[in-house]
Symmetry: C5
Subunit: 336 residues, 5 copies
Amino acid sequence: MIKSEKASPKDVIMEVYEFGENVLKKHHIKNIEDIRPFLEVSHKFWLNLCGLENEAVLKEISELFNIHPLTLEDIKNTSQRPKFEEFDDNIFVVTKMIYHKNKSHSPITEQVSILFGKNYIISIQENPYDIFDPIRTRLENPTGKMRKMGTDYFAYTLLDIIVDKYFDCLEFAVEKIESLEDQIISQSKKTKLPEIFNQRKVIQQIKRNVWPTRELLSAWKKSENPLVKKKTNPFINDVYEHVIEIIENLEIQRESISALVELFMSNLSLKQNEVMKTLTIIATIFIPLTFIAGVYGMNFQFMPELGWKYGYFFIWILFLGSTLAMVYYFKKKKWF
Amino acid sequence: MIKSEKASPKDVIMEVYEFGENVLKKHHIKNIEDIRPFLEVSHKFWLNLCGLENEAVLKEISELFNIHPLTLEDIKNTSQRPKFEEFDDNIFVVTKMIYHKNKSHSPITEQVSILFGKNYIISIQENPYDIFDPIRTRLENPTGKMRKMGTDYFAYTLLDIIVDKYFDCLEFAVEKIESLEDQIISQSKKTKLPEIFNQRKVIQQIKRNVWPTRELLSAWKKSENPLVKKKTNPFINDVYEHVIEIIENLEIQRESISALVELFMSNLSLKQNEVMKTLTIIATIFIPLTFIAGVYGMNFQFMPELGWKYGYFFIWILFLGSTLAMVYYFKKKKWF
Amino acid sequence: MIKSEKASPKDVIMEVYEFGENVLKKHHIKNIEDIRPFLEVSHKFWLNLCGLENEAVLKEISELFNIHPLTLEDIKNTSQRPKFEEFDDNIFVVTKMIYHKNKSHSPITEQVSILFGKNYIISIQENPYDIFDPIRTRLENPTGKMRKMGTDYFAYTLLDIIVDKYFDCLEFAVEKIESLEDQIISQSKKTKLPEIFNQRKVIQQIKRNVWPTRELLSAWKKSENPLVKKKTNPFINDVYEHVIEIIENLEIQRESISALVELFMSNLSLKQNEVMKTLTIIATIFIPLTFIAGVYGMNFQFMPELGWKYGYFFIWILFLGSTLAMVYYFKKKKWF
Amino acid sequence: MIKSEKASPKDVIMEVYEFGENVLKKHHIKNIEDIRPFLEVSHKFWLNLCGLENEAVLKEISELFNIHPLTLEDIKNTSQRPKFEEFDDNIFVVTKMIYHKNKSHSPITEQVSILFGKNYIISIQENPYDIFDPIRTRLENPTGKMRKMGTDYFAYTLLDIIVDKYFDCLEFAVEKIESLEDQIISQSKKTKLPEIFNQRKVIQQIKRNVWPTRELLSAWKKSENPLVKKKTNPFINDVYEHVIEIIENLEIQRESISALVELFMSNLSLKQNEVMKTLTIIATIFIPLTFIAGVYGMNFQFMPELGWKYGYFFIWILFLGSTLAMVYYFKKKKWF
Amino acid sequence: MIKSEKASPKDVIMEVYEFGENVLKKHHIKNIEDIRPFLEVSHKFWLNLCGLENEAVLKEISELFNIHPLTLEDIKNTSQRPKFEEFDDNIFVVTKMIYHKNKSHSPITEQVSILFGKNYIISIQENPYDIFDPIRTRLENPTGKMRKMGTDYFAYTLLDIIVDKYFDCLEFAVEKIESLEDQIISQSKKTKLPEIFNQRKVIQQIKRNVWPTRELLSAWKKSENPLVKKKTNPFINDVYEHVIEIIENLEIQRESISALVELFMSNLSLKQNEVMKTLTIIATIFIPLTFIAGVYGMNFQFMPELGWKYGYFFIWILFLGSTLAMVYYFKKKKWF
């Protein structure tokens, strides 16, 4: 979903979903103060905030939800490493979403900070573009788990969608790697090495974020915070397993890329070999012939062969004989 | 065994073996409801189900055997990582079988989900083709362990056969690698690098499944579930040892393949060297001779040598001398 | 900040900051004896000492602050590995700062020993140039934490600034690596391999110091010394996380450099291939032509073709035909 | 010792040594039944059995010594991984001996199963050739430990001799690697890459068996079986240390071989470079000269130079000048 | 210090230092029996023994100091892996010293066995040359720790000197590696690959001994033997830290050498490229020209161009034009 891109850089887009077993209301708020009423109702709500440029808004949020100054720093610093931190009345999770806005470009990494307390979930993104549409859809299902279960389940859902996107990006890279491999083997198209290296970078980009995500989930699993309910554990386990699978796949892809580079280089060597053989065959056949022709082009006054009647005829026999000898030699060496 | 391949995609093939110390009956059922009677008899039974497309059947099974929805998801998702999960009244194991339907193709990976309770074992495969004929044979032996021991022993037997197939696939790859090695060393045949890379892929395919299988067995060994009997432990240990051996062999094969690529590349370099030497020897001998011939082909009015009586004779001596000098030089350099 | 560089080698520069919640005084002292009065006042003070050549000064300090002789050795030995050591009334930390004095040179590594007791912090550097100006600035803020919190917080701040500089150096290296990568891919400029290797060295220089820093921080976190206050723990955790991030980035950069070298080498091969192709095309086209020309330059008395009216015309047709055949052959081989 | 090689494949050679502090008798038995009397005497005995083809014999042994069917399988399966297994009244050890029957061939791997109980040791080999002559010699020493200590000491001795043979094979490989290295550096002889790869295979062959041997010894050390006496512990520790040393050496040799391949490849490149230089020097000098000669071989009616008196003389000056210029250029480039 | 090298191989040199807080006497003894009186005095003594060939002496020592036969074996076997062993009344340490007798040769590895009891330290070396002169000097200092502290401190000092020598050898190798790097980058001198490989071997030689030394020190630190006093612990920690530093440096050097080989190989490729370019430029310019000259050297009776007045002039224009076109092409390709 691309939300209004015209938002001025200082603008922050704030979406609030008020929800409960029987309720679902969506609000677009302009000021963070508009959130206060939600805090007092008995429903849960999700505040999705896009844009980090407006410091004032972030400050207001941090005051409203009692966020530690260091945590606020982590939210603002978009190169923060994914992590899981527990506080007295909320839990803070930093994650990175990786997605393709445009399939012909490299995937984009964007930080998503998630904070959840007893009845609120706040997600803070860098840009208005996001990958959370499936959540909006699921929220609309009045009998879905999203509406019934706690805020930790909601946070899990966000994480789950983020990890699923890792899978998508990985799969997209795998497809590209496989098509590059086909190209190299069939030699149907000129493959450029930088294309291979680009895929290596995508693999690295995912790896860089998926490893700390694993630690994050590990910490979550071990957490004894009352906000983390037992019922959510199997779901977290599920994401954890996905992360392990991604990690294993990344390793396999890393090896595939190394093999690909090797294949590319060896193909280059094979081609070079062929080029050299062509040159050598031609040169080796004609250089001696040219020499012989040169000999009988000399202007010595006394060169008996020149006067022979069949001299020219014999010389052609010499030419052919020498050529055939060379061809035989190359055949024996299996150069053809 | 290739079971009727004509089964329409939506069709699910269901085979039921009712067995006990004195009993062995085989049934082909059409509806999952037909299984209910088996649940009440005192014998054990094995339900082998092929085909995942028919959701209705899977749902019925999950209701009949009280399967958790997440487990059902795992059964349907054919890229599920091998794992071992315990529930209150059954144990769920995901495995992958790897086999050659046709030796000239790459091996095929197929998911097999195994669920066993007190008196039933269910195996769910993707396709009708399977590798479980040895089990069918062993079941027919009235004094065999299959009929006497518990369902965990039956599940072990399935796993054992799957792991044995890994060995077969690995051995087949090893044979191919060794024949490629012989080809490269003897240079009897043109080896294509992609053939080497194909074997690398097979190695990776096995590795990808054998590592999680190790974890699976580790979890089984540590399990304290009453369904897992002490008597079965030495057997599980046995499979575990096989898995370790496969892992060690995979590593050795990985190194062999790297060495093979190195050997291939160095052979290429050696050949290139030989080609270059041939060219250099021919060119170095004849280029100067051609020059000399060219000199005496010039049309200057005043070239004293042309008028000498033995000029032509001397020039041949020069040709021969120069050639011999070159040959001597190459001999000294050990280029021949 | 570059402090007077004219200091004679034996000179030691000593800066003392006396500070407390309401106090901040800066002193430049000449003799270590001048420090004694500070020890008795109720404020804390920071002694920043530059220069290790004057053994007498170091000895006086070690007596004044009751420093163990082995610790004194560690301070003097500028190749000491970073470490954390606790004593009865102070804590001793060896660190390395890495900074760029001049962006076009390699970064410089310099040892900084930090010793802190209940109300003093001593930092001992090799040279007058340092990276601690941010500390001087923060000290001036009367409501800042620097003035309020304990000496362990002060030591943390020094560490934090040092680790931040690692980040800067790493980032600078990353930029260079990326610009080298662009150069290689676009081939806009001749890249020299030694430039790539220089960046590899910088990566190694940082790695060499960041790994023991991690152990140092680990030891600090586990320390139960009363000088290490609980309040400072989250800050130490923060530096620790930075260090982990640097370590992960170093690994990624190490891989990038390997990929870069591979890319460089393969580009070289590609160029070589192109050179060889050019030579082969030219030689393969013209060598046979030259031979034909040579044949009709021979002086045999009986060469019927020479007398033909259209002989010369036919020979040009032969030339053109042969050339076209070759061009067609090269096109088919996709050499153009 | 080469025992009668004429033994028909189905034949099993059985050697029995009855021994005690004062006794040593050697028997050659034909039927396993002949062993029963030894079981009842108070001496210990060693049964050394060669040949696995005769299933009947193995079955009798397994009944006589109460061997578990799975263990019997392990004995028969000659690709069993080395391991240590404890039973109620005996201990079972699978090992591999590696030895050179002929120094010019690759070493041979052969499985040796060892089973020892309170007063018997059974060793089962594949072939009659073995490496246990030192044991036969030591047994003859009436005051040696072999006669005095328990069966576990005897088993240790077998293991010790096997591990010592690993050392011998490793040393033999090391010698070959070093001689290959000398050959490559001195270039005294044409080294074939496959020879290097053969040594790599030997290293791998040893590694494959020495790693599980380490685990085996580890298990032995931790064993609390009454058959394993405390007194034997230092000896087992000794073998363990040897195994560790072999493992470390294998790693070093693996690196040496990699370095050797690198050296080989770089030598090849150096030679290629030299070949190319020779070609380039000759071609670059003579190709322009040949052109000049060609120019004055043209038959234009109006070519003023041809009529000059010193034309031919000048042309030689041109030839020499051009040659000298080229030689100077190559000297400057340090190609000579 | 080079002690009398004329000692016959069977000779053993024995040096005894009797020392205490107020005493230092040096003795040269001939027979091991001469040591007995020292055992009864209240001072400590150090027996430094050089030469392992005389079995009788070693046997006498082992009886005198109650050395276990296996330990005696370890002393004699000069390829013993460094280790730490505790006995009831003494501690046995095997170490390796690595030193340069001659800087232009490879460093030498020599085994030093150290045995210390309550009042004696015995060091046993292979050859008379040793690196322990600093110990002899320190012993002369009557207020030094060597005289005051226990025999464990003495043993530590020996170890410390040995480890310091590792540093020296490493540093010497590093210097060589750096000078090789400079040579390769500046191309001032022909670098031979074997020189790089020699440094790799030195690195490996140190690594081989420093790893077990680390385990040795680890064991020492954990030892609870009364011979190992608490006071000595910080010193052992210090050596331990040095060993860790050496290990880290070895790893860095290993990477440097790999980078060096890569640099060397890529330089080779660059040179090859340059050679090929030179050849290609010359050949590509002159081969077509030679062909044209050849054409007008043909003897056809009817070749109209030959009769033209400006034919020769036009042909030179053709020559120049073709050359310029080629030069332009090469410029565009950036081959110059």
